[in-house]
Symmetry: C2
Subunit: 302 residues, 2 copies
């Protein structure tokens, strides 16, 4: 079992869906990632919150053994995001983004964070991702997520950091945007040519795929009758994925495949309730049961 | 190996895609179905064409051993369909439909067709599907396809025939329309409650899923870099699926799963060229190679 470092956002979200609403609840890429990954290994979190951030949220992460040594508490308001989903839950409409202390975020790595073997650079400014990457000591595996905002606004910096990572975790629309390829198979191959040996494409209700050279691996999404709130599903997926890799301590093809299934398992819980509510209730036995269900759903036999 | 009967359309298609166009080429649900299924078992085809239908197209099917004893040649023009696809190849825009002799189609079953163990009712008027179903003698398995036109226009007749079949093969949008359920998992469960023990949902570039009571099986689409023309993909899928079932002669869960993979394999060839052009060039070794690739793409390991 190897340690896992994540750099990303910790936020307060306000979300409306056709099924209800939640105000000022715990959110952020590093939050979902850490919580999901904490079922597999020990997590080191690098992020920033404002002085207004509720202590109870930090307790929640600490109870999962998340090392908050890299969490800055800055003066000013915490990053806030407000969004809305229609009946088609595939895409959020952002209603409001208030960066607050996140606007001036400069990640700080405590000395004992620098030699973390598994590193996840969640969706933040690619210049900060690059900065963190230069300060960690020869990690065994680095994965990176990004979003349309950076693909359009900081393409050069993004391509520089993409070149340096082992795995790019990205959603399908972003993969197409980054590569300017409408066909997802070509887009995935193109990303592999940009540097990462492995690309993992998140496809929402259609699951995920992994491409490595000429080999593809596909996993469906868990069949859920009532998707409640998809916020954080992608970050949770990444947390389960990286957590499972760090737990295994290896990164061969078979381990990557199992890790993608674990990512899908964890994401399937997140979408069943607002915020981290469902993740907080989940038990290890449920995780393993869904893992087995996934294998069964994909099993062809001889 | 058991015989397989199909009732559906044989047509002349005119198709435009961003990559080219084809005029008056061989098409129709029963055509794609028969050709694909002919790699697995012997096919009996029930359909109608006009006197203008090119003999060479019939030769093509006969060379695959398709029994054309149920193909009527009526006076009048053959059914013609014209459609167009944009860069998003997921949906065809119909430009023109000329039913011709298909408007008065009354399926006729030669005596030796009546005791066929595997039956596929392709997308035609549900009243005709019901009529055929009443004239076949205790088939081992009956599957049915339909489309939005009948779901909206002949809902009651459609529900009557759906109640009588073992397998409903349908695309995702139609599954949602038929059940008035936006969530595909619920839609699939709802269909099972309408009569068919098994529902197979075709999801285009996202593959297919099978639902039986509480068990799901998912298969991705084959990763194709250049989808050329998706016309006939769904009918080809059904042909591979039903052909593989008929070849096995059994309909247990494991056989159904393998059959869905074979359906996906066959559909992956059809989309690589206009009309049946790619299917006509395909060799058995290629089919088996893609089947193995599918298994590999879905394999999680222990």
């Amino acid at each position: 079992m190897a340690d896992l470092l994540v750099v990303g956002s910790v936020a307060l979200d306000s979300v409306r869906t056709p099924f209800g609403k939640a105000e000022e609840v715990l959110g952020g890429s590093a939050t979902y990632f850490s919580y999901a990954a904490s079922f597999f290994t020990t997590i080191r979190l690098v992020a920033v919150v404002g002085a207004d951030f509720p202590r109870t949220h930090l307790d929640l992460l600490e109870r999962r053994g998340v090392d908050l040594g890299g969490l800055q508490v800055a003066s000013g308001p915490t990053f806030r995001w407000a969004g809305e989903y229609g009946y088609d839950l595939s895409e959020a409409k952002t209603l409001d983004t208030r960066l607050g202390v996140f606007a001036d975020f400069r990640p700080t790595l405590p000395a004992h964070f620098r030699a973390t073997p598994f590193v996840f650079l969640a969706n933040i400014d690619p210049e900060l991702q690059l900065d963190v990457l230069q300060r960690v000591e020869r990690p065994r595996l680095v994965a990176l997520d990004t979003m349309n905002f950076w693909i359009q606004g900081k393409r050069d910096a993004l391509l520089r950091v993409v070149r340096e990572v082992d795995v790019l975790v990205i959603n399908d629309a972003e993969a197409r945007m980054l590569t300017e390829e409408a066909n997802l198979v070509r887009a995935a191959r193109r990303i592999v040519s940009l540097g990462p040996r492995t690309v993992v494409v998140k496809r929402g209700e259609y699951g995920a795929l992994m491409a490595r050279q000429d080999r593809f691996f596909f996993v469906p999404a868990y069949p859920i009758e009532s998707v409640f709130d998809p916020t954080g599903a992608g970050d949770t997926f990444a947390g389960g994925f990286m957590g499972a890799l760090a737990r295994a301590g290896t990164v061969d093809d078979a381990t990557l495949r199992r890790a993608i299934v674990y990512g899908s398992v964890m994401a399937s819980f997140t979408v069943e309730d607002f915020s981290l509510n469902r993740l907080v209730r989940v038990e290890t036995a449920e995780i393993e049961a869904r893992y087995l269900t996934f294998r069964e759903m994909m099993h062809v036999g001889d």
